[in-house]
């Protein structure tokens, strides 16, 4: 952290609310959103640009994220979690990704991919052992599903474990794992001797378990990504989730994470729009602000239109999540649409910023590069299209 420069630049972000969505949120929702917005301005904005430039994960921020309540806010308070609803969770992810997709990824993985499966499928012992520490940021977790040769087709995974008395022996490797280089625990999905997928908690320090970092990323540079390598790792059977078998386990977690991403993408889009709007009014060409020219106005008008549509999709989806009615296909629609929307807005905003848009003076290029990961992880853009295609026609186009 000593090499990271704190920027003195004021974060003047103002969120667009063209359809007065604030009227649809409770006072508590707005307080939650505004608190995280303030936290992001204070803790993330001053360092994020330099962290990304230096490809540095600000590990100290994990504790601060835990203190403000960014980990597992939608899980029950009895395990030290937030006890809030899905609208609150979504608004928090929106604000966090407004700061940076890498920061949101850290929170998404911890909350939706580590804490959520422990809560949903874990034993009471597992819940009490891990959830309070994960919620406080005293422990960092990661989620191992994707393998080097098995990404969109996780059912073909080869990571496996064999019975060994009170323990199992785990072998295999996972790739593209957010948080892995710093994680204290990993929720790993692997096949048992019958070839059935089960979830198992692997702790750092277990012999044969290593987490090499992935270098050379041009995206999510402030978030740590790595591998999980299991070389005859002896894991107690007590670490296996008793509550789920099969691909349903990891896919249930992904639904929760994808929901958060659909809100998060709005945050990144908002930041690009806000920066582009501000820049277009400040930048003078031909004797007046470039915001006065039709081509720039077209870009800004289309950005606001798409952000407003995405906000309404998320608001409705949040209520469906609260009522337990949201389907995986509905979540796919929101994730696919909103991330694509945000990426498109980042590219348009980059154009409005001209040459300045490629520098770290503005957040645009950072968001754009981050969103290339976001449109790929947690189900690629194309896979979500196939999920929707199957929903519409009943025909499976995956195989």
């Amino acid at each position: 952290m000593e090499n990271i420069k704190r920027s003195n630049k004021q974060d003047n972000f103002q969120a667009p609310d063209f359809y007065q969505l604030d009227d649809l949120f409770s006072d508590e929702h707005k307080l939650i959103r505004d608190s995280i917005r303030q936290w992001v301005k204070q803790e993330v904005s001053p360092i994020i640009e330099d962290c990304c430039q230096q490809n540095y994960f600000p590990q100290h921020i994990v504790k601060s994220m835990g203190e403000v309540g960014l980990f597992g806010p939608q899980l029950p308070a009895e395990y030290g979690c937030g006890g809030l609803d899905y609208i609150a969770y979504g608004l928090m992810m929106q604000e966090l990704e407004r700061g940076d997709s890498g920061m949101r990824s850290t929170a998404s993985v911890q909350g939706s991919l580590v804490m959520y499966p422990i809560y949903k499928f874990g034993s009471e012992e597992q819940k009490h052992k891990y959830l309070p520490k994960l919620a406080k940021g005293e422990m960092l977790g990661c989620f191992g599903l994707t393998e080097p040769d098995h990404g969109s087709d996780p059912s073909s995974m080869v990571t496996n474990f064999k019975d060994d008395g009170d323990h199992v022996i785990l072998n295999g490797a996972k790739m593209w794992i957010s948080n892995s280089p710093f994680a204290d625990i990993a929720v790993v999905w692997a096949k048992n001797e019958q070839g059935i997928i089960q979830g198992i908690i692997v702790e750092r320090g277990m012999e044969g378990f290593s987490t090499p970092e992935t270098h050379g990323k041009w995206s999510l540079r402030a978030s740590a990504t790595g591998e999980l390598v299991f070389d005859n790792v002896r894991v107690p059977k007590a670490n296996i989730f008793p509550g789920v078998t099969g691909l349903k386990g990891p896919l249930t977690c992904l639904n929760s994470a994808r929901y958060g991403i659909s809100w998060g993408a709005i945050g990144a889009a908002m930041d690009c729009f806000d920066s582009a709007k501000r820049y277009s009014m400040e930048r003078q060409q031909f004797g007046r602000p470039i915001g006065g020219f039709q081509l720039q106005q077209k870009k800004l008008a289309e950005m606001l239109t798409e952000i407003t549509k995405a906000q309404l999709v998320c608001w409705r989806l949040g209520h469906l999540m609260n009522e337990g009615k949201a389907t995986p296909a509905q979540i796919s629609l929101a994730k696919r649409n909103n991330v694509d929307m945000a990426l498109h807005i980042a590219r348009e905003a980059r154009q409005i910023h001209g040459g300045m848009g490629i520098t770290g003076e503005y957040p645009i290029m950072r968001h754009m590069m981050n969103l290339e990961s976001v449109i790929t992880y947690e189900g690629t853009h194309d896979i979500h299209l196939l999920i929707l295609g199957m929903e519409i026609t009943g025909e499976n186009a995956f195989v």
Partner: protein, 245 residues
């Protein structure tokens, strides 16, 4: 130790100010309200004092029901309970009268306010309260500690600092450097749901002042460039056109 912190509900600092009803009322359509930032500093310092020495923090607001969102925020930041005087805060004297009534009956050791509210900036409530209560009052403080039943405060003065102490109970108002404000965390927001918020009717409905008219400052005029060799023209413009010298 019992501390009463006075919080005002003020327009967000980015608000574009306009008026209605023949420029006699502030137009609050679409305006987002926040806790007055100086009051938030008082609240934070009050929490720090009670966390270190034990005690409770009560927040009080004079306002109608729409101020409750910010009262809940104060509870989420950590205040133990809240009181809302159900009345429009017409002027500083009226507000101070309402708060004084609660302070007398509540057995508080310290009443804390901000140095001024950022909307009307009158900066009077601290002094008025001290006078009404007959307690010592120290205005615009940058530091406060409690030791041996005394409040020991610091204030900025021209070219230095002034250390002032007084016996409890007392009234103080906070200046910017007092502490750093706290961001409510999710556990605090959850806890705020069930913390007591008492609504009291005002003791008096008599306002002592009335706003006749509001005026916005004159719009910024364009910048005039003057040749450095022609300083006399600058003096002439400042004297005859701007009438500032």
């Amino acid at each position: 130790m019992k501390i009463l912190v006075c919080i005002s509900n003020v327009p967000d600092t980015t608000t574009k100010v306009t008026f209605t009803e023949g420029n006699t009322r502030f137009n609050n359509a679409g305006v987002q309200y926040i806790i007055n930032p100086y009051d938030e500093l008082s609240l934070t310092r009050a929490l720090e004092l009670t966390e270190a020495q034990g005690g409770t923090v009560t927040v009080i607001n004079v306002g109608l029901v729409d101020t409750e969102a910010n009262i809940r925020k104060a509870l989420a930041i950590g205040a133990h309970e809240a009181i809302r005087i159900n009345a429009k805060p017409v002027d500083a004297y009226y507000v101070a009268e309402q708060i004084a009534e609660v302070a007398i009956n509540g057995g508080y050791d310290i009443v804390m306010t901000g140095r001024e509210s950022i909307d009307y900036n009158s900066g009077q409530v601290c002094g008025l309260l001290a006078e009404m209560l007959g307690w010592p009052g120290i205005n615009v403080i940058t530091k406060i500690d409690i030791d041996g039943g005394k409040a020991i405060c610091e204030r900025d003065i021209d070219g230095g600092k002034e250390k002032v102490s007084c016996s409890l109970p007392c009234v103080i108002s906070a200046q910017k450097e007092l502490t750093e404000p706290r961001i409510p965390n999710m556990r605090g927001i959850m806890a705020a749901r069930t913390k007591p918020l008492q609504v009291l009717e005002p003791t008096s409905n008599q306002a002592h002042t009335k706003v006749s008219v509001y005026e916005l400052p004159p719009a910024k005029s364009s910048c005039k460039m003057i040749d450095p060799a022609n300083a006399g023209q600058l003096i002439d413009l400042l004297h005859n056109e701007s009438k500032v010298i």
